[in-house]
Amino acid sequence: MRTEDLIKALDADISSKAMPLRSAWWIAAAGAAVIAAVVFFLTIGPRPDIMIAMHTMRFLAKFVFTIVLAITAFGLIRALSTPGASTARAAAWMAAAPLLVAVAVALELFMVPEPMWSTRMVGSNMMICMGFIPLIGIGPLAVFLWMLRYGAPTRPVLAGAVAGLLAGGLAATFYAAHCFDDSPLFVATWYTLAIAVLAGLGALGGRFFVRW
């Protein structure tokens, strides 16, 4: 088939419509949040003393970290799924969540006496944290990888890893409402590891599933 001939076929197909990628991302994000919420409330649910916990800085700070991670990853993944879009600014914003965590860790080390550091870091929930963040995040990750297929990421492995960070930020936001370990030392260790698991799965998905 000559290129001339191919153009005739493409031209005849111009009337077929697909939803603009930008709108599709918002719908996907809403759908992923619903999936995460359903899994969260059907399994572990929020901690019973959540109304009291909401008055403590450490508890609230967890949501700041996870929501900032989700928002920045959402910005980056939309740029990564669009060919030719500039990603530098969105990528720079990805430093926000780790920086906030680093500041919180520094404050915690300053405020808490040294003998308690390891207790705070190990916490009481690390296995639940390591299990449930990936469990809540796996459905959203599937949605985001599917969206990458719908888009056109020119760096699919990186885009897949960012899909994992986005799913991780979303899942950790829900999980944080369950978890009793509010110390930034715990968050910096176990949330990071659990989210890294999703990022790794996302990178694999990007490598083998996101082809276009």
Binding site: T3, L6, I7, L10, D13, G84
Partner: protein, 178 residues
């Protein structure tokens, strides 16, 4: 390439997305020439047929046109896709290349050369279900309209449109996967 090209191509693409077939044909011819110039300059050794990459890029631009933001420039979008498809073509043949995105500024449009070589797209076309294959080749190779194809095959125009759309999407997916 100039700001004038960019403005003109963006205008054509917006008109095309709004359903203007003539604008889309014009757009596709122009970008085929630009992408051909880009790809030929990048392929200095044999092994990859530039025209295969041009065709694969055009198909990708078509099936991924919903990823272009209408308020963003269209040329960076086109070249990012062309570059991705070119790297993909090299990777499939076990080669690695690095392509400088800045070099696109030196690209010149080139016309299609007549060749007798077997195209990747023909293999992808042959792999389609018969109904889709006959619709795609009637419209492309035979140059028939949707209406003529419907009459010839004895099906509705809607059925022709659906087969064409699915056939092109399937070709874009299969391209170079064999």
């Amino acid at each position: 390439m100039s700001g004038k090209d960019e403005a003109e191509l963006s205008r054509l693409m917006r008109a095309a997305i709004a359903g203007d077939e003539r604008a889309y044909a014009d757009f596709l011819h122009r970008i085929a020439a630009l992408v051909r110039g880009f790809v030929r300059r990048k392929i200095v050794q044999g092994g990859v047929d530039p025209e295969d990459v041009v065709q694969e890029t055009l198909l990708a631009i078509h099936v991924k046109r919903h990823t272009w933001r209408q308020d963003a420039p269209v040329l960076p979008w086109i070249y990012a896709i062309a570059r991705f498809k070119l790297i993909d073509a090299f990777r499939r043949r076990g080669r690695r290349i690095e392509i400088e995105i800045d070099e696109i500024a030196e690209t010149f449009a080139e016309p299609e050369a007549e060749t007798v070589s077997e195209r990747d797209i023909n293999r992808a076309l042959d792999g389609l279900p018969p109904a889709q294959r006959s619709v795609v080749s009637a419209i492309s190779v035979d140059g028939r309209s949707i209406g003529e194809t419907a009459a010839k095959l004895g099906v509705s125009e809607t059925a022709v449109r659906v087969s064409l759309h699915r056939g092109l999407a399937a070709i874009a997916k299969r391209f170079g996967r064999q």
